[in-house]
Symmetry: C2
Subunit: 242 residues, 2 copies
């Protein structure tokens, strides 16, 4: 039975980290909210998933992954669940935890990206907090982008199995998440990211390697890959870049 | 050999979620940065841990837990590692993932708390972003505190094993993190939290149950429990509460 992914249609958002893992592994899945309402999919199905009063273990938000009877929320928890099943994580406990630690750090970076355009309220429009966003984005650009990317560069540099992957010598979900973080930063903050990535050649080489991964490359060319846009987490507001 | 916890001295911060787990389990540990410099502890040891150029798997930030040769960063990853060892998580995969999902959601709430007093820059002082903080805190008070607490209440209400614990019928690290979240909200936003918790009796009962847990109660009375203060994540700025 295919996995079912529940996430807002029309944006990559946090759901994209799950899509990339499923796509890279060639796993069968349904992106439920993008399906047809007449097939029991679409937004009604998503809302039912989030509001189901019969759910014994309700998720706080999407993405939510359904695997048969199992229902799992929180991006990083979903990746921890999928990792061994999709062979996107090492089998030892230390490798599993280290991969997860990297994922959680990337997730922190993603949350900070969201904070650049919504610093004072997720329920307010960007247009209502543009001044605050300018201040937040400057701090993020000048301090946080280099700090996160430099850390990922160091992780690659110190990997005893070589600098081609974040953990060990094969592709993990952390590598895929690095790809998505770099793609998103390049979209949202092209100037600042260009400056920062000059110092992180290993990060950029891994980003390229993931983009050329056969199944990932096919996915990125497909209609399944939603383009970046200004309803997602990574938003390109030129006034926030420099 | 005792666990070694590396975290900033003088504040609870994210390290407190680790301390509570270790204390509730009665595990032996050293709070390294609070130790004596002459014993190789204190701030120099913490900075060495964070900056060690020989670290093969460097952490992005603290808390960091050292268990013999293993070095683990990221609060939620540390709790995932400690959970089975401290018997603070169920043994089945579904219970383990569900406990982790709850922990990650509480961690999201904690990050949002930090955002109320530092909405536009972690490197700026609160005093330099008081206006932005007032807007951010209002949104957090009125929308997010009820949303997070109501969700935790629902999780308790729907637990098939009863509403005394978040997962199953025994104490887990998620219960301890709920306690810390409620304590912190009550300290930082006493008025708003009083309103919100009127609707979450199960959350408050669990908070009380954790506070009365023999080892936790002893810890809370000890000098090892650092009082809440305005250098931590939960800060009481009266102007941000209402």
């Amino acid at each position: 039975m295919p996995y079912q992914l529940y996430y807002w249609p029309g944006l990559q958002g946090r759901g994209e980290f799950i899509r990339l893992a499923l796509e890279a592994a060639g796993a069968a899945y349904t992106d439920v909210a993008r399906g047809n309402t007449t097939a029991g999919q679409g937004m009604p199905a998503l809302l039912h998933c989030l509001q189901d009063a019969a759910a014994v273990r309700p998720s706080f938000a999407c993405p939510v992954l359904v695997d048969g009877k199992r229902v799992i929320g929180q991006t990083s928890a979903i990746l921890m669940y999928l990792g061994p099943r999709l062979k996107l994580v090492g089998t030892s406990e230390v490798d599993s935890i280290w991969t997860h630690q990297i994922q959680l750090t990337i997730a922190d970076a993603v949350s900070e990206v969201h904070g650049t355009h919504h610093p004072v309220g997720t329920s307010l429009y960007y247009e209502d907090q543009k001044l605050e966003a300018a201040t937040a984005a400057k701090a993020f650009r000048t301090q946080r982008i280099p700090k996160f990317l430099d850390w990922l560069e160091t992780v690659l540099e110190r990997n005893p199995k070589g600098d081609e992957h974040l953990v060990g010598a094969r592709l993990s979900y952390a590598d895929l998440s690095l790809f998505q973080l770099v793609e998103g930063l390049q979209y949202a903050f092209p100037k600042a990211t260009r400056r920062a990535t000059k110092k992180t050649p290993r990060v950029m080489a891994l980003r390229d390697r993931v983009a050329q991964h056969q199944r990932v490359a096919a996915y990125l060319q497909s209609e399944r890959r939603i383009p970046f846009n200004e309803t997602g987490i990574f938003r390109h507001y030129p006034e926030l870049d420099a």
